[in-house]
């Protein structure tokens, strides 16, 4: 039998049972759509995280006490500003070194208040990380040197405390101490459910007085170029280890952070795809089931076809094509539905969605493979039917 003929027969058979074919296909449609949507969400989340980590600034090196290892408790910092000076000497450029000491504090202005993270920083922060101001100006070196009580507000904090009014020049109190607002950050927005505008920057020296400490949580260095990051990291860690023989220090680069986050999100995407794959598998079982019913229903037809000269293979191919047609039509519909759903999810929810070609190709390939895999058994059964028995059946 010619292949074109076999396709025609398969299409006719599916058409003859439109509702049943449609419902069988629906299982595959949902499975494929689920794969496409979930992979799109997983990929979108990964891209979003990568974009934000890269958005921190390029060639970034972050030095923290303790070992950077998931599962270990964060170490208590022994770093101080004199260590920062030592790091600055190695780097050779004060404007490339930033520090943080952070604490959760209540910030008030008049009757409004907000609990937020207060970061003690150097005036270099906007150069090391990528931050820009919507109003006013950032902290200055003399603010840091003289421990001035000045603050730069994140946009969420500014909105809570001052509404639509301009906060620059206004007073706020942080942990009961009065500060003058000198600037407001440009909004960064939400990232993966975290409000990045919920913070207040004050000079690190002021923060030390306010918090009664002289520790520094971490040091961030913007390397002059990509090639020198590794040597710079080694030299800084060696110097800090010399100064604090009993403490271990780690230097992480942006690439390492990206690598770890990418691995986590890759696994997440894989798990989502696997869950969706299970529904595709269930759809395949549905196809198999319907094909077995179809073989039984059309036993007489199979007998007749065999009587007029159909070989077992001709009959097998006919039923296999039916199954493949069901799943590939379902696969294509599922892809369309999945793409539309991913676009809707991406547009209407904070969860980003990125449609990737490989997920479409994978979903289609898997659905076609499911059709073959689950169509083989019914097709073989049809092909092997004894023509005498088949003709006799009612």
């Amino acid at each position: 039998m010619r292949v074109g003929e076999a396709w025609r027969v398969a299409i006719d058979a599916l058409r003859a049972n439109r509702l049943r074919s449609g419902l069988t296909m629906l299982g595959v449609v949902i499975g494929v759509a689920a794969v496409v949507v979930l992979v799109a969400i997983g990929t979108g989340a990964k891209q979003e995280v990568e974009r934000q980590v890269e958005g921190l600034g390029s060639n970034l090196l972050i030095v923290v006490p303790g070992r950077v290892d998931f599962g270990s408790a964060p170490a208590v910092s022994r770093l101080s500003l004199s260590d920062v000076d030592a790091v600055t000497r190695i780097v050779g450029d004060r404007s490339r070194v930033a520090v943080t000491v952070s604490s959760g504090e209540t910030v008030r202005a008049g009757t409004a208040s907000r609990f937020t993270s207060v970061l003690g920083v150097l005036e270099t922060t906007p150069q090391v990380f990528v931050r820009s101001l919507a109003r006013g100006s950032y902290l200055t070196r003399s603010d840091v040197d003289t421990s001035r009580r000045v603050a730069v507000l994140g946009s969420s904090v500014a909105r809570t405390l001052f509404g639509e009014r301009d906060p620059v020049g206004q007073q706020v109190s942080i942990a009961g101490v009065r500060f003058r607002v000198v600037g407001v950050f440009t909004p960064l927005g939400q990232s993966l459910g975290v409000d990045r505008d919920d913070e207040v920057h004050i000079p690190v020296t002021t923060a030390h007085r306010l918090l009664g400490t002289n520790r520094v949580d971490g040091i961030a260095i913007k390397a002059p170029d990509r090639d020198r990051i590794a040597t710079l990291a080694d030299r800084i860690v060696a110097e800090l280890s010399r100064r604090h023989p009993d403490t271990e220090f780690s230097a992480v680069t942006q690439e390492q952070i990206l690598g770890v986050l990418g691995d986590i999100l890759g696994v997440l995407t894989g798990v989502l795809a696997a869950i969706a794959g299970i529904s595709l598998l269930v759809g395949g079982v549905g196809v198999s089931n319907i094909m077995l019913v179809s073989v039984r229903e059309r036993t007489r037809e199979i007998g007749l076809r065999k009587a007029v000269g159909a070989r077992p293979r001709d009959i097998g191919v006919q039923f296999l094509l039916e199954a493949v047609l069901l799943t590939t039509l379902g696969g294509v519909s599922g892809m369309v539905l999945g793409v539309v759903a991913a676009l809707v999810v991406g547009a209407l929810s904070p969860v980003p969605a990125a449609i990737t070609w490989w997920s479409l190709a994978l979903a289609f390939g898997v659905s076609a493979a499911v059709g073959i895999a689950f169509g083989v058994v019914p097709a073989q059964r049809a092909g092997r039917l004894d023509p005498v028995e088949a003709l006799r059946s009612e």
Binding site: M1, R2, E5, D12, A16, R300, E301, G303, L304, R305, K306, A307, V308, G309, A310, R311, P312, R313, D314, D386, P387, V388, L391
Partner: protein, 224 residues
């Protein structure tokens, strides 16, 4: 001219859940080219089994069966399918037409498995429908045709491949007397014109009486 089909002492035993049920117990028979033969006998006498064997739908348990010059016992399933397609035509009591399929496409069906192109199939099928007197009904589907017309379509389908032997299993069983006679007359005319051997399987003595020769079966053997 060689015989259309030859059976030498063939037996056929069915295995029903471990119990051997002999349906044929040693049958020898020759269907000559252009023969007109009726096989009669009561239900369970083995006449249907014999017809299935003569049509290469089944293999004998023992004995030698030659159809169209080929030894059936040595053929694989695809080879038997090809033998059926080229040498045998079937007409059944219940017509066995494909529903939702036009008379033309029903008749053309055997040619699909011969690998013929669509145009050639339709030409041959239309010519055959013409010969059975249904040239005006080609586009009709089985449910739009009378019983007699459906059986004519089935006859056209059986003969479109120009087989050596036409096996008709109770071809008039589902038809009223007048229509049955008309169908029989058509079969006889085709037998006379084209030289296809006609084997009628029937339990109707009147139908059998029209054949040139009769074979009576009882309990899996031919009785004189």
């Amino acid at each position: 001219m060689t015989a259309a089909a030859e059976a030498h002492d063939i037996t056929r035993t069915y295995d029903l859940g471990g119990i051997s049920v002999p349906a044929l117990r040693g049958v020898s028979l020759t269907v000559e080219a252009g023969d007109y033969l009726a096989i009669v006998g009561p239900s369970g006498s083995g006449k249907s089994t014999l017809m299935h064997l003569l049509g290469a739908l089944d293999r004998p348990t023992s004995g030698r069966l030659v159809i169209g010059g080929r030894e059936v016992a040595r053929l694989s399933a695809p080879e038997m399918a090809r033998l059926r397609n080229e040498t045998v035509g079937f007409v059944f009591q219940s017509f066995h037409l494909l529903p939702r399929t036009t008379a033309l496409d029903n008749v053309a069906l055997p040619l699909v498995y011969r690998g013929l192109g669509s145009a050639a199939r339709r030409r041959a099928a239309a010519a055959m429908l013409d010969r059975v007197g249904l040239g005006h009904r080609v586009k009709h589907r089985p449910n739009q045709l009378s019983g007699g017309e459906q059986q004519r379509v089935a006859i056209a389908r059986a003969l479109v491949t120009e087989p050596a032997v036409l096996l008709a299993d109770e071809p008039t069983g589902n038809l009223d007397t007048a229509t049955g006679v008309a169908v029989l007359s058509l079969l006889e005319a085709l037998n006379a014109e084209s030289g296809v051997a006609l084997v009628l399987v029937t339990h109707d003595r009147e139908v059998a009486a029209r054949a040139r020769r009769q074979i009576t079966m009882r309990d899996g053997v031919i009785v004189p």
